[in-house]
C-alpha cells in the first residue's frame, strides 16, 4: 500500500483505458500456469517414480533395468513365501480392523453416551495415543508386551501364570500395536457421529414404542455405520502400510517387510514387484474410500439442541461403567507412560521387577551435554521443515485451484494429488530409489539417492496430501463471495488475497502443515530405507540407541517428540481448527 503511484491496489484511477475481450489464452493463463507447475511436480516426484518402479519390476535383470520380461512377476506369484506375505498382510489388516474397531467403537460409546465421574478426563486421555511417537512408541509396546515384557512379568507376579506364555511375539505383538495405535480412527469418527447424531430420531423410536434394545439395533447402530466403515477403511490401509511394528516384533510375513528384505538382498526388481502390488492394493482402497466419502453420511436434520447424554442413575451401573472406563483408558495410554518411565530409568535399573528400581535423570542430562545429542533432532526438524515448506506452496496452491476453478480433469488431478497418501512409506521410498538412482531431469540431472535431498523429498511426497487436504478444507469454508466483495469494493486480486483470503485461511493451512511437520520429525518408514549416514534422522538415531541398549536416550528423544506433538495439537486447537486431523499411518 505504500507504493502509491505504481501499485495497482487502487482499482479506480479513472483512466480511459479500453477493455477488450481478453484472448482465450489470457483468460486461462493463471489456470494454465499453475496447473503446469502442479503437473510437473506431480509427474516428476509422484507419478514418474511409480512408473519407474513398474518399469524396473519388468526388468530381465534383478539389479539393473534391462529389457522387458514378465518372468519375475510369474515367479513372484508362484513363490509360496510371497503369496504368504500377501495373504499375511491382508489377514493382518482384517484382524487389525476387527481389533481396533472393537476397541475404538467401544471406547467411543463408553465415553460419549454415559455421564460418569472422570469422563472428561478419560476423553482427553483416550486421544493421547495420537501423540505416541511412531518408532519409540512401538519400542514401548515391545518392552511392555513382547519377549521379557513388563506386562507378562507383572501378571506372572500377581497371578502366578508363566510369563513366557504371555509374551506377545510375531503376529500377536503386531496386532496389539495396531489395535492400540489405530483405534483412534474409530474412536474419533464414532464419537463424532454419536455427538452429532440426531437425538430426536432416537426419541422418535422410543415414542413409537420400540424397546431400548430395538432402538440400539435399528436406529443408533445403523447411524454409526458410515463412521465405522470410514474408520475400517483407513485402518485397513494403515495396516497394509505398517512397517515398524512387524519389524520390531520380527513378523516378516507381510509385504512391507518383504520389500525391504528384497532390497537389502540387492534384488531391486523383486522389491519393485512387491512395491507395485502393494501400491495397487492401496490405490484400490483409496478409490473405495473416495467413493464412500462421497455418499451421504447421516447428518442431523433438526435445529439446535445437542445430544442429551444419558446420566446413569443406578449406582451399580455407574460403578460398573466407571470401573470399566477408567482402567481401559489407562491401558490405552500405557505406552506413553512406558516411554516416560524408560526415560528416567537407570541403565540396568529395571531387571526382575514390575517397576524400575533405580531412577536417574542422566538421560535428560544429555540434552545439555552438547550438540551431539541434538544433531538428529536438528536433522529431522530441518528435513521436515523443507518438506512441509514445499507442501505448503504446492499443496495449499493446488487446494486453492481445486476449490475455486472449474476445469476438465479435476477429479483425475485430485486423485493424483491424494495418491501418495495411500502409498505405504516403504513404497514411496522404493519409488524414489528407482526414479532417482540415475541422473534425472527432475533432480537437475543429478543422482539423488545417497544425498541429503532424498529424505526431505520423500517427506514432501508423503505429506503433501495432508497439507492439501487441510488447506482444501479451509479454502472450501471460505465464502467465494468474500473475494467478490473485496473485488467489487475496488481491491486488486493481490490486495484481496493479502487482506481477505490469507488472514482467513492461513490458520487452517498452518494447522495441517504443523501436523505434517511433526509427522515428518518422527518419520521412520521411508527414512530407514533412504537416509544417509551424514544426515541421520531422529527416528533412525532412536532405533540405533535402543539397539545399543541406550533405551533411556531413545526414550528422551521419544519424550521430545511427545512434547512436540502435544505442543502442535494445543497450538492448532488454539487456532480454532476443531477437526483433529488424524495423521498418515506412520507406523
Amino acid at each position: 500500500m505504500t507504493t502509491a503511484t505504481t501499485s495497482p491496489d487502487v482499482g479506480l484511477e479513472t483512466t480511459n483505458a479500453v477493455y477488450k475481450r481478453p484472448s482465450w489464452f489470457r483468460r486461462r493463463f493463471n489456470v494454465i500456469a499453475t496447473l503446469t507447475v502442479l503437473l510437473v511436480v506431480l509427474f516428476g516426484y509422484v507419478i514418474g517414480p511409480m512408473i519407474a518402479t513398474v518399469r524396473r519390476s519388468l526388468s530381465t535383470d534383478p539389479i539393473d533395468t534391462i529389457g522387458v520380461s514378465f518372468h519375475a512377476w510369474g515367479d513372484f506369484f508362484l513363490s509360496n513365501a510371497q503369496r504368504d506375505a500377501i495373504a499375511g498382510s491382508i489377514s493382518l489388516a482384517i484382524l487389525s480392523v476387527i481389533a481396533a474397531g472393537l476397541l475404538g467403537t467401544g471406547v467411543a460409546v463408553l465415553l460419549t453416551r454415559w455421564e460418569f465421574p472422570g469422563r472428561g478426563f478419560c476423553q482427553v486421555l483416550a486421544l493421547l495415543p495420537i501423540a505416541l511417537p511412531p518408532l519409540m512408541g512401538v519400542w514401548a509396546f515391545k518392552l511392555l508386551f513382547g519377549v521379557g515384557g513388563r506386562i507378562p512379568f507383572a501378571l506372572h507376579e500377581w497371578l502366578g501364570v508363566a510369563a513366557k506364555d504371555l509374551w506377545l511375539q510375531g503376529l500377536a505383538g503386531v496386532l496389539i500395536v495396531h489395535a492400540m495405535t489405530m483405534y483412534p480412527y474409530f474412536f474419533l469418527t464414532v464419537s463424532a457421529a454419536l455427538m452429532s447424531a440426531d437425538v430426536s430420531l432416537e426419541e422418535a423410536s422410543y415414542s413409537m414404542g420400540a424397546s431400548r434394545a430395538r432402538t440400539w439395533l435399528r436406529v443408533i447402530l445403523p447411524m454409526l455405520t458410515p463412521a465405522v466403515v470410514a474408520g475400517a477403511l483407513i485402518t485397513f490401509m494403515s495396516s497394509m502400510a505398517s512397517y515398524t511394528a512387524p519389524l520390531l516384533f520380527q513378523y516378516t510375513n507381510v509385504m512391507t517387510q518383504q520389500i525391504v528384505i528384497a532390497k537389502s538382498d540387492g534384488d531391486m526388481r523383486l522389491a519393485s514387484i512387491i512395491a507395485t502390488t502393494l501400491a495397487v492394493i492401496s490405490i484400490v482402497f483409496l478409490a473405495v474410500i473416495r467413493s464412500y466419502e462421497q455418499r451421504n453420511i447421516y447428518r442431523t436434520q433438526s435445529k439446535g439442541g445437542g445430544r442429551a447424554r444419558s446420566t446413569v442413575t443406578s449406582p451399580l451401573a455407574r460403578a460398573v461403567i466407571t470401573l470399566i472406563a477408567i482402567p481401559l483408558t489407562l491401558v490405552l495410554i500405557l505406552p506413553i507412560i512406558m516411554i516416560l518411565v524408560l526415560s528416567v530409568t537407570a541403565k540396568g535399573g529395571w531387571l526382575a521387577t514390575i517397576l524400575p528400581t533405580q531412577y536417574t535423570l542422566e538421560w535428560y542430562a544429555q540434552m545439555f551435554s552438547g550438540s551431539e545429542f541434538w544433531r538428529p533432532v536438528m536433522n529431522s526438524l530441518l528435513m521436515s521443515l523443507l518438506a512441509v515448506g514445499g507442501a505448503i506452496v504446492l499443496g495449499a496452491g493446488a487446494a486453492y485451484i481445486m476449490s475455486r476453478l472449474k476445469f476438465r480433469g479435476k477429479v483425475a488431478l485430485d486423485i493424483a494429488i491424494m495418491l501418495p497418501w495411500a502409498l505405504p512409506g516403504t513404497v514411496v521410498a522404493i519409488n524414489l530409489i528407482t526414479a532417482f538412482s540415475d541422473p534425472s531431469p527432475f533432480a537437475a540431472g543429478r543422482v539423488l539417492v545417497g544425498t541429503f535431498a532424498i529424505v526431505p523429498l520423500a517427506y514432501f511426497v508423503r505429506f503433501n496430501p495432508l497439507v492439501f487436504r487441510s488447506s482444501f478444507a479451509s479454502w472450501s469454508q471460505l465464502d467465494p463471495n468474500l473475494e467478490d466483495a473485496a473485488r467489487s469494493l475496488g481491491a486488486t486480486w493481490w490486495y484481496t488475497f493479502r487482506k481477505v483470503v490469507l488472514p482467513l485461511v492461513s490458520r487452517g493451512i498452518m494447522a495441517g502443515a504443523l501436523l505434517a511437520f511433526v509427522d515428518g520429525v518422527g518419520e521412520f518408514v521411508a527414512s530407514v530405507v533412504l537416509y544417509t549416514p551424514q544426515w541421520v534422522p531422529l527416528s533412525i538415531e532412536i532405533n540405533n540407541q535402543n539397539y545399543q541398549g541406550n533405551i533411556g536416550t531413545g526414550a528422551v528423544y521419544g519424550m521430545i517428540q511427545v512434547a512436540l506433538v502435544l505442543g502442535v495439537l494445543i497450538v492448532t486447537r488454539r487456532m480454532g481448527t476443531r477437526e483433529l486431523a488424524v495423521a498418515v499411518p506412520a507406523t
Binding site: 479506480l12 477493455y19 481478453p22 465464502d479 467478490d484 469494493l489 475496488g490 490486495y495 481477505v500
Partner: protein, 363 residues
Amino acid sequence: MVSVTLDGLTKSFSRSGVVVDRMNLRIEEGEFFTLLGPSGCGKSTTLRMIAGFEEPDSGHILFNDRDVTYMPANRRDVGLVFQNYALFPHMSVAGNVAFGLTVRKIRGAVAEERIRQVLAQVHLTEQADARVDELSGGQQQRVALARALVYRPQLLLLDEPMSNLDAKLRLETRGALRNLHAETGITSIYVTHDQAEALAMSTRVAVMNTAEVHQVGTPADVYERPSTRFVATFLGRNNIFDGVVTEVAGDVVSVRLGDGSTIQGSASRTSPGLPLAPGNAVGVTIRAETIRPASQTDTQNVVSGTVTDVEYVGATLSCELETPIGAVLLDLIGAGIRPTLGDRLSVLLSAASIYFVTAEPAP
C-alpha cells in the same frame, strides 16, 4: 451517477444452458430498477455480469456511454450488497466499511468522517467497533449496505439483500432502503424474487423468466397491465381461464370458456398486441382481490360453486371455489360474509376487472 445499458447480453453455462438470452435493458440515471423473477431465471447472473464477475458470451454492458463489458470488477466503481452480506469476518464493522475507502487511498480524518456519516445513516453508530459476527442479521445487512455506499459508487447493486431477514424486518428494511435511495439518488439495480419488494420499492421493474425479460415497466404497469401470460400469473394471486373469443362488439369482448359458459370483458384491457378476433384462443385473467360476491341484480359474469378452502389471513379471507369453469381464488376484504367449507357461493367476475392475455401455448 450513471445510466446502465445492456445490449444483447447473452450468457450460457455448460451445465444450465442459456441463462440470459439477448437481453436489452436501459436503466436510467438515479433509477431504482428491479430485476424480478423466479429463481433460476437469470436475474442474478445478469447482476454478476454488471458487477464484473461474469463475462457475457456476447453483447455489451455500458455505463453511460462507456463500454465496461470486459472491465475488471475492481475498476467499475460499483457498490454491491450480497444475499449473504459477505462481510469480512476478521474485521470490525468499521473495518469492513473502511475497506473500500482504504483501497481508494481515502484515509485519515476524511475517511473517519465518511465512516461516521454512513454508519449514522444506517443506524449503526454504536456498533462501529463490534465484530460482525456479534451483530443480528438486520444489522449485518446494514453493514453490507454501508460498506457498499461509503465510497459513493456510481452504481449500487443489490442481490436479494433481504432474503435472510424475517418478515417484519423485511418490511422495515424496505422503507429504509427506499429512504436511502431518495437521499443518495444513486442508480440502483435490485434483484429479487419477492414481488412485494419489487412493487414497493422500484422506479421500474423488469419481470424475467427463463433467461428472458417479459416486461419492463413501473410497478403499476406490470401489475395492472401485464404484457405476457407469465407476468399475469407471476404477480399477485391471479385466476386464469382459457377460452375462445366468440364476439367483439365495440369494447365488449365475449369469450366462451371450457364449460360452454360465456364471460365478457373489455377490449381495452388486453396485453399489447393480443389479437382479439372471434375464433381466437385467449387467456382470461382476474385477480383474486377484485372478485366480489354476486348480488341479486348481477346476471352476466356470475359463477357459482362450492367453497373448498378457506384461509383466514387477517386482512383478508382467502377462499377457493370449485366452479364449472374451474377453481376460482378470491380474497374477501371486509365483505361481511364469512363463507365456510361446503357453502354454495355465487361470485361476480366483473368485466372491468377482467384482463386478456395470450392463451396457453399448445403443448
